[in-house]
């Protein structure tokens, strides 16, 4: 085959095939990444002209200063508070993973109705979204909601949940577990577990291993790569998430208790129209995620979903 001729033809064809997608990629994905960085060096409210401010946004976001009343004060205390919120809301990750692993293990036992169970467990994940957030908001209603009614059955008086500063985050975490435990993590664990040949278990029990030892030496190694993957994806996703939930259920929470970084970026960008500052926050978030990804990659995990 004539190498150059084929390559040239290939290139021309490739342009046709690639063009729409590539144009879109350029305009709406690649260029915006650079534009966002540029924006973070400006201040722009979309009604007046943009103004170059250099590193001012970053200093304002990440800097600290001495306060005359003693001690240090952050230039943007809200940023650190919301960062803390974001991290706090990611705390249930290990719990959710364990729950998914448990469900996957039980489902793997090939009981009757396993298919039905799997469908029901997966249901919350399918329907998750704004509709379900409204449902849970209604469920957390302190006077008419199901959650307090359930607590009442057990003789407990439920808190005000989403309007209570101390219970708003736990409320979201509980809902997060309900949504996640039977979801994609469970499916991934199931797939991993199904990849373990049953002879291994038989051999182990012949050798006299207890259930716990079987788990530790047969199940766990099979499941560890998936666990690592889920954890990393969970962290990366958790760092960016929280907007839909907070907007629908708490509007940022009583006194900013449920505002995550994603929500903070939203308010800065689309409520107050401080496009430069919002881009700064987004880029800092990106750098944090990048750090997590590189850390994961170094440890030998897979880079991409």
């Amino acid at each position: 085959m004539k190498r150059t001729g084929a390559r040239l033809r290939d290139t021309r064809t490739a342009i046709f095939f690639l063009l729409p997608n590539f144009l879109g990629f350029l305009c709406f994905t690649a260029w915006p990444v650079m534009a966002s960085l540029l924006l973070s060096f400006t201040e722009w409210d979309l009604l007046t002209e943009p103004r170059w401010v250099g590193l001012d946004n970053f200093v304002q976001l990440l800097g600290w200063r001495r306060d005359p009343t003693g001690g240090w004060a952050a230039n943007d205390p809200q940023f650190w508070k919301y960062f803390g919120n974001t991290l706090f809301l990611m705390l249930p990750l290990p719990v959710n993973m364990l729950g998914s692993l448990f469900l996957a293990t039980v489902l793997n036992k090939k009981l009757r109705f396993a298919y039905g169970y799997r469908l029901i467990f997966f249901l919350p994940h399918i329907v998750s979204g704004v509709a379900i957030y409204y449902l849970w908001r209604w469920m957390y209603n302190p006077d008419f909601g199901l959650v307090n009614a359930l607590l009442r059955q057990f003789g407990l008086a439920g808190p005000r949940w989403l309007t209570d500063m101390h219970w708003a985050k736990p409320a979201l975490m509980i809902m997060g577990t309900w949504l996640a435990v039977g979801g994609s993590s469970m499916i991934l664990y199931l797939a991993a577990l199904q990849g373990v040949p049953p002879e291994l278990y038989e051999a182990a029990s012949i050798d006299g291993a207890t259930a716990w030892q079987q788990f530790r030496h047969v199940t766990w190694p099979a499941v560890m790569p998936v666990t690592f993957f889920i954890l990393t994806m969970g962290i990366i996703h958790g760092l960016q998430s929280g907007f839909d939930m907070a907007f629908v259920m708490t509007g940022g929470g009583p006194y900013g208790a449920t505002t995550t970084l994603g929500y903070y970026i939203y308010t800065k960008a689309y409520v107050f129209f401080e496009m430069g500052y919002a881009s700064t926050i987004a880029w800092v978030l990106f750098l944090v995620i990048l750090t997590v990804t590189i850390f994961n990659w170094r440890r030998g995990g897979k880079v991409i979903a």
């Binding site: 729409p20 690649a30 990444v33 704004v130 008419f144 909601g145 978030l285 979903a305």
Partner: protein, 308 residues
């Protein structure tokens, strides 16, 4: 080796968990069927909260009357369909270019695609928003004959313009076009194409097919599971897309379902029975789509993770 007698014990936690999953959905259904203002206080029995006490099926009809729910539905449908169609089509074509064609810079470009998948949505969303805002002003300077900011009616009323603006914020363009391009789709389909054997390609080439025919007649049908997966994921993702429609549209006639659900929150309190009914109506296509395309969905979840 397994003792079947002990197996039924496992049904207990499974039933408990299954119940926990279903109970909120029952509550949703019961609320949707209740009468306005008749929400049961928490002091009442939990069973009465979960099982519908009254069967006001007309709530589902009322939802369409009280707010322009029909418009929201049509918007959501049209936008999701167009975005899905566009995304799948462009991703498939691009995936073919990456998987089957040789051209300079191919692998570097693919690496660039992969790299952008790491970027959080909020980073790219802001410049896209800004672009949507300044686009009509720009175009107005380049092509001043067309009034880019005015509304187009296509024969419908002033309250509900058929087309609205051509471009810019508060336009269908802003809702559809930026969502149509995703690196994820290209990645997914490229992986699928790579698993397909090249012999069929070669045979077709010998028969004199051009690339387009190889792509459309041979590869696409073979890659149908991957295409279906991408279609389902994209549709479901776009159906529930909340932030982008929220910030790019201000006008009622452009609302999609997730954003439109807010309309049930009145100034003096939310009409929960209507809200739940509307939420259920919004979920129907999703659940339907899932039931129909289950295996694609499941395989889509695993293919990304298990492969590297």
């Amino acid at each position: 080796m397994k003792s079947p007698r002990r197996d039924w014990l496992w049904h207990i936690p499974l039933l408990l968990v299954g119940g926990t999953m279903l109970v909120p959905l029952f509550f949703m259904f019961a609320t949707a069927l209740s009468a306005p203002g008749q929400a049961l206080p928490v002091t009442d029995s939990v069973w009465r909260m979960i099982w519908p006490q009254s069967w006001h099926w007309e709530n589902f009809a009322e939802v369409w009357r009280v707010v322009p729910f029909g418009r929201y539905y049509i918007n959501s449908l049209v936008i999701a369909l167009v975005v899905t169609g566009g995304q799948v089509f462009t991703s498939a074509c691009a995936a073919y270019a990456f998987a089957r064609l040789q051209w300079p810079g191919r692998d570097k470009l693919f690496l660039a695609y992969l790299a952008t998948m790491m970027v959080p949505g909020s980073v790219t969303m802001i410049p896209n928003f800004v672009a949507m805002k300044i686009l009509p002003e720009w175009l107005g300077r380049v092509l001043p004959q067309v009034d880019w900011l005015s509304l187009r009616y296509l024969g419908t009323g002033a309250q509900s313009p058929g087309v609205g603006r051509l471009i810019g914020l508060d336009s269908y363009f802003a809702l559809i076009v930026p969502a149509m391009f995703s690196a994820y789709g290209t990645f997914l389909l490229r992986q699928f194409f790579l698993t397909l054997p090249r012999d069929l390609d070669e045979a077709a080439k010998i028969d004199g097919c051009n690339h387009w025919q190889i792509f459309s007649r041979i590869l696409l049908p073979l890659a149908l599971p991957g295409v279906m997966t991408l279609t389902i994921f994209t549709f479901m993702g776009n159906w529930g897309s909340f932030l982008w429609p929220l910030v790019t549209t201000n006008q009622e006639y452009l609302r999609t379902l997730p954003v439109g659900l807010q309309a049930f929150q009145g100034q003096y309190g939310t009409e929960w029975h209507l809200m739940m009914a509307a939420a259920l109506l919004m979920l129907v296509p999703i659940v339907g789509l899932f039931l129909v395309g289950q295996r694609f969905f499941i395989s889509g979840l695993t293919v990304g993770a298990v492969k590297g």
